[in-house]
Symmetry: D2
Subunit: 266 residues, 4 copies
């Protein structure tokens, strides 16, 4: 069987136009570039509120934040930040028992690379009506990513955003190797929006800005950026987080990239 | 031993400023973007003259051409094209016995991915005074590429241009995986110019333009592009060659990317 | 930080002798070779009973079986097969909500490659008192596999069996590349038993026997083999399953390999 | 085009029986196991004569030795060792200009991993009548290795021995990952003999013996082992060389593996 025929719902053959996913008054996959920014981990109310305001000021459209510390309530803090700023929130689901709360409270539910082949979780996410941000697994092929999207879509949820975040190769200078060509392949094979996460791919903060620009130049529909007010003392992933002022600089550069049109369904 | 200390001459630690390599009245590694274009294989006098004129018209700075057919004299044809257009010529050396003629006639001598670890050839190239375009091997790490540059430089030739052209990974949608982060790593570790070859990396003509833009966005000093008047009937590598009119379009887009400054020696 | 110091409980530095894991009247990691065999998927009562008897006849010590069809009760069928044959049963846990039943009914609980970094599940498995068979992830390094073992052991369960089952590389002739050297590395770094699954690694039935012998020759503590009475019509993974008579032949060859002593804690 | 049809002369489809290559009074690919042993680098007359005698005593059939120091005449020293012991000699050709002497003096000419795609050299080796030991490139697929054999054979030299010596993967514990399954794939696809080099694959001396046994268990036609009297002070590759007494122990274990028949042309 030809791999390209094993996925149908995400296949551009059967749906020529780009899918545009509505998230409140914002879109992913349409004319505007989706910029998702925030800390790797929600550490405190002060931290997330301060960073959320910075994200807003920079002109980014979405607030992301991870929940790594058991016992706190990072989702509550993200909701507070959304209330303050109006930014939709993006956060990762790590097990099916979080589904109820996430379906209610989260604007875009992220599936991490580690869960890309957690088919049971994918099926359950297919039964809710929230956009899913599906990250490519560390060693997943492009076809396998699309097959995972198919699992979600086949249950009825067609709001899937694909995310390239680096693959494992023999090169160890970067944490993973950002597969920039995958954006082109995914846009050709599928009508779904494709974003890029340079923070996790490289694992090196000083690569984040130029890789984000490369992602936009190649035609990605959005970028996901980790920021932190004080990366050196960040609880986790500090080495891959940039300061808010660097996000501001990036957004200014990005604004000059209007020349790069999104990749359409020619 | 720390790998970064095993190469010295190419190391930015000991040479903070970017190396700018002079080729006739053009430069690689300086303010201008180096665009090298031409056919994968020099097929005939008509073909190379026509393509050379197109390369010139598009505003690209260098003419490339490979010599794959035994019995013809592609180097003579490239020299003719240089005479007609004034474009410096770039072509690949595949064995040390070509060195005499290449040292005399070629403007930039290319070492292909397959020869990146041909240390004997590298040493001989170190003893001449022509710029060397050193391509990264299919499975070479960033450190190994710099070690190969060191072989050349240690013999006295400091005019080395590094070229990222894709690495072999588990992903088979593209022929190789363009390691866009390698540009950043190489510019950080070394003062040598770094260019990108999207044609060989992806092996897919429709990826060449966006990947070239990504390379520029990330801060590459140049790009190397395969073109052909009639890709479908090209002797080899037709599937990775773009038509001259697409190169023209790419050059127009590239002109809008002035905002992206080269990566300097901060 | 040196990776080898990041895991402690599984580290041979702190526990020189091989761990021998008792499962009923059998052991894994001791003098006898552990042979685990059975179908990829439990399809019916007749099927599993017939195969279990064959496994027993061949002299293999453990019965494995997967549960892929929702609605049936493969665990009940495996228990029935255990009752009939006395063979301990090995089966895979795919989500934490299966933990209660598995802790009670299963003799060795398998964690599949996909769940090797499901740290939440690993922690929960650390709190029960059943041996865990932990498979290496498709793109997991040897260090990462040991870190996952550490997650289980740090909660109190020290009965962990490591399993090499192939890694993803650029080579596509086999489904994955069996990393036979990993057995040696794991035995050196850790005191835990190490077994090999040639069926999933190669994905090709005709490679299973010779790869199993290679695993024993290199010093593995056991092998895990998929068998099926009629591989062509197997529900899944038929192409990687051997017939029971081939298992018998393999067991005879294995008996001649007494010369190969297990790898000790010298 | 199906890859398996792109090579013909090495293809088992067209030549069902195993090729047996005669080297003096010894064979490769027949009933006896070919054991090639010797130092990574020929360092002096004393060294090579002493090691050659040990190789002979151990019962290995062939003496290998590399020539890394310019200015000495390692080939002359190898010839001297051959005279003393009667062992055929195996050494690596690194450029075409060595061809004349090698065709005359060497018993098996080795093509290193780095030159596996040096098609010009392969063609020239095809025109002589000495057995060629062709090593798999670091990132070469099984198909590519067979294509390289085809280059040699298409010029008339059908005495090609294939050698698996590890591939580059994400795992860095070993220098490369020994692809033990490749032996099986090569024996199935081709009638040519297949040997394994565990020394270069692992890069770790303590893995050499068990990996050699795994190679034999899987059905390889031979093994190539680096030995050194004093590995710690070896000029190069000391960490992957075993002492002669370990080779003796290995040969004794290997003798017990008579049960493992070579892989035939069923």
């Amino acid at each position: 069987m030809n791999a390209q025929q094993s996925y149908k719902l995400s296949n551009r053959l059967y749906h020529m136009d780009n899918s545009v996913i509505q998230v409140g008054d914002k879109t992913v996959g349409g004319q505007e570039l989706a910029v998702i920014a925030g800390p790797s981990s929600v550490e405190s109310e002060d931290q997330i509120l301060e960073l959320a305001k910075k994200v807003k000021e920079c002109g980014a459209g979405f607030l992301r934040g991870g929940a790594f510390k058991p016992g706190t309530s990072p989702l509550e803090l993200l909701k507070l930040a959304r209330e303050e700023t109006g930014l939709p929130i993006v956060t990762e689901i790590t097990s099916a028992d979080m589904l109820g709360r996430f379906a209610e409270d989260v604007d875009i539910i992220q599936v991490g690379a580690r869960n890309m082949k957690n088919f049971k979780l994918l099926k359950e996410l297919g039964r809710i009506r929230k956009p899913i941000l599906l990250k490519r697994g560390l060693s997943a092929t492009i076809d396998e990513l699309l097959m995972s999207a198919e699992y979600i879509m086949s249950e009825g949820n067609s709001s899937v955003i694909l995310c390239e975040r680096g693959i494992r190769t023999f090169e160890t200078y970067t944490r993973n190797t950002l597969d920039i060509s995958a954006v082109l392949a995914l846009k050709k094979l599928s009508h779904l929006p494709v974003i890029v996460d340079p923070s996790h791919a490289a694992g090196l903060w000083w690569m984040v800005e130029p890789l984000a620009k490369a992602a936009i130049a190649v035609g990605a529909d959005g970028i996901m950026i980790e920021i932190h007010n004080d990366p050196v003392s960040a609880r986790i992933n500090g080495q891959q987080s940039i300061k808010p002022e660097r996000l501001m600089a990036l957004m200014e550069d990005v604004a000059k990239m209007k020349c790069f049109s999104r990749i359409g369904g020619d």
